[in-house]
């Protein structure tokens, strides 16, 4: 099935595209402001088509939290030319798969289809970019589905509740304080006109970009994009207020009680993210720190906290250097039986202190970099992953063309820089700690009806 062959024994050579395809991915901006990014990958006769809108939950206002995500649901509820359910039906008939996702930073829609179906997907997406019906009755049904989604994914998930509360405390001003799915009371009071207002504000070609990856010719894709998306008008966008988070001036703590068995400790330090790919240093060093702490099964957290000290049943570090809003470096885990949340917190802090005092070994850093490079190659196995990478960088304002440069910058991180960021940011003034205090279920064992025969 794979058509062409690009073998090379040198990894870095492989990452640098051969001369003939240096321009791949290709990009064009339409007159209405819509940018179209195309990456040709001819391994299989399929294509991923994505439309990204630069509007996520961080663009919402109080009382209307969750509207970005509700609108995402409503985008499948029809236009004058493609009624409710028609979008899904046509994608399915095309042999495709489709879905959408809302994040704090963006809302994106995608279809994976056999390559000959790309034009139809573009026609459907262009149609709903401007002509969504947003019918009151459809809204009334769908808002109930969204409330079920919130119950399923947050209200009945103790760790999700903990994360939601952590964000609400770590951020007091910046809209990262609200959950993407929205507060339940806001969902209960949301109206179709709230969704209409959101749609009219943000769903415009000049606030969107299209990413296409797969077995396509970029010129043909630009032609299709002109045909379907080119007819839409650009519109003025709302002014975005920065809503910068004021400096934190002391540790913040909170507890969540929920039915569960395993306690959880979640620590969140405020750290920077990439704003200037060339000049920034710290975000790259923080990425490497996360890899050294928890990037693999022999990384420090698992090795020390889980395996040697038996303090935790799991321990994780997480950091995303590419976000529109402020950055957070997370440490979290669950204590082993017989250990307390406080003991685990001490253990997590001790790992940070060790980096602050002794730095990291050259070997550990080299290991993190080896994984990074291999991960870049493995990503080439999935056209969906390649499209996601382009889309996510663009969503936070980093041109996708900078990806290679970001990999180089990660490769250049030194052990001294890792130690420096550990000293600079991991201070109590920048810390919020959230603890899950597990509550037993009301009855143990749970009352069960007998298995009653049914006729």
């Amino acid at each position: 099935m794979p058509m062409h062959c690009a073998r090379s024994s040198a990894l870095l050579l492989l990452l640098a595209a051969p001369l003939a395809t240096l321009a791949n991915p290709y990009e064009r901006q339409l007159a209405n402001g819509l940018r179209v990014i195309v990456k040709e990958d001819r391994r299989a006769p399929t294509v991923a088509h994505m439309v990204w809108y630069r509007a996520g939950s961080m663009d919402e206002t109080n009382g209307r939290t969750g509207v970005a995500h509700v609108l995402e649901h409503m985008m499948f509820k029809g236009t004058p030319t493609a009624g409710p359910g028609e979008f899904n039906r046509r994608v399915a008939a095309a042999g495709g798969r489709d879905n959408a996702f809302t994040s704090r930073d963006y809302t994106a829609y995608f279809q994976q289809v056999p390559k000959q179906k790309l034009a139809e997907m573009m026609q459907l997406e262009a149609d709903r970019m401007r002509h969504l019906t947003l019918d009151d009755k459809e809204f009334a049904q769908e808002i109930r589905v969204v409330m079920e989604e919130r119950r399923l994914r947050t209200d009945d998930q103790p760790q999700s509740l903990l994360f939601e509360q952590l964000n609400a405390v770590a951020f007091q001003v910046h809209p990262y304080r609200v959950p993407i799915i929205g507060w339940m009371n806001d969902l209960e009071n949301m109206t179709a006109s709230d969704a209409r207002h959101w749609y009219d504000s943000w769903y415009a070609p000049n606030n969107a970009y299209v990413v296409v990856v797969g077995d396509v010719d970029h010129q043909a894709v630009f032609g299709l994009a002109e045909q379907y998306y080119g007819v839409l008008q650009a519109r003025p966008l709302p002014v975005r207020k920065p809503q910068e988070e004021p400096s934190q001036v002391g540790v913040r703590r909170l507890t969540v009680k929920a039915p569960a068995d395993l306690p959880v400790v979640m620590m969140a330090y405020k750290v920077p993210v990439i704003r200037n790919v060339e000049q920034d240093v710290d975000p790259y060093a923080l990425e490497m720190l996360a890899a050294v702490l928890a990037g693999h099964d022999a990384a420090r957290f698992t090795r020390h906290l889980v395996r040697e000290q038996r303090l935790a049943v799991n321990a994780v570090a997480g950091y995303d250097s590419t976000t529109r809003g402020p950055g957070i470096f997370h440490l979290y885990g669950s204590p082993s039986a017989g250990k307390t949340r406080a003991e685990l917190e001490v253990g997590l802090r001790a790992e940070l202190a060790r980096v602050q005092q002794d730095g990291v070994a050259a070997e550990e850093l080299a290991r993190a970099k080896a994984q990074l490079i291999a991960g870049q190659i493995y990503k080439l196995d999935s056209i969906f992953a390649q499209a996601m990478e382009i889309g996510q960088l663009e969503a936070v304002g980093v041109p996708y063309t900078m990806n290679r440069r970001m990999i180089e910058k990660l490769q250049e991180v030194t052990a001294e820089q890792v130690q420096a960021v550990a000293r600079k940011y991991f201070r109590d003034e920048l810390l919020t700690v959230a603890e899950l205090d597990p509550q037993p279920l009301p009855q143990t064992p749970l009352a069960r009806s007998p298995f009653a025969p049914r006729h």
Partner: protein, 431 residues
Amino acid sequence: MNTCRLLIFLCLALTAQLTQAGPKIERWQTLAGTRVLFVEDHSLPIIDVEVDFAAGAAHEGAGQEGVAGLTRSLIDLGAGGMDETQIASRLADLGARLSGGVDLDRASLTLRTLSMVDKRGPALDLLQAILSRPTFPVEVLAREKARSVAALKEALTRPDTIASKAFWSAMYAEHPYGRQATPESVSTLQRADVLAFHATHYGAARASLAIVGDLTRSQAEALAEQLTRGLPAGPAIGDLAAPRLPIAGEQRIEHPAAQAHLLIGMPALKRGDPDFFPLAVGNYSLGGGGFVSRLMKEVRDKRGLAYSVHSYFLPLQQLGPFQIGLQTKKAQANDALKVTREVLVAFLEQGPSEVELQAAKQNLIGSFPLRLDSNRKILENVAMIGFYDLPLDYLDRYPENIERVTIAEIRAAFARRVRPAHLVTVVVGGE
């Protein structure tokens, strides 16, 4: 009109079928007796290897529940003179990724490595050591048991886990598919249990090997020999017995969650059974086809009762389940159950409409290329074909097997496999 459309569709399907052959799969057996399936693909410098053993949870003896998972989790935590840190560090140094797990039938180890000689050589040496010389260190065993017990206790507070465990018990009773690990059963496991399970179930004859990626047939042959020659011999073991079908019934379990979790189903289908195709096509219309199924329309779109609702068949070595599942606000549990049952009963009586049938075929055949558009997906398919010993042209013939299905066959297959007299229902939470 209808005939004309059908003809056009058949022609399209035929063209599609000619251009939609699956990947070229080569097959042989190693000297040790392990089945090997290989797909050569040089488009990326990646090699993917999956080793599957008939060592899933269904192969645990009574009182040994949890030993399959424990054995699999320990196998790469000490081998060939290396401890767990050395193994994980070396893999990370090479950029290699080792994953896998256990289900009811299988225990699997999956290695993804770069294909350059200086990467693949050491990565495959590590996998060989793990397969042939695992050490199961006693102190690691104690720790992993404790972690497993902690995870199980946590899971047993969750409505989805409680529902799933009750559902499998109700469907399979004393059959191995119905047995479940508990904190108590895992706590009693000893190192001798793990050693015995490994010696019995991780043998060459119980293994199948799938290899996809950047190597030649002769390199793949050498690799297969290397990985399998040190496997334990292992005794011959009889096949799993067929489960007895349960008597229809319903169980309610209290839970404080905001949503009730509902499951309906029964043992229904084995791998390799020809009913697979009519059931797959029919289930697409019932509850399998993403956003376009009857269950999705009735439960979610029309009534807003649930975020997700699905139905599927899970074919296994022995009869695997047909299952419908959904979650809904607890006050609505009975409404949702009623609607779901009505949809199922109507479908069993009538089968899909002609329009639904064509839509199902269009999607299942049209999406065929999406099932095979990465090495990772090819590996999953090829490993499944190898483990269950399905015909090598299974993927090539998939589109025509779907295309051939009729409404009458769907109704007949559902009547055989989804029988109200045997459907069990579990509701966790609700009022």
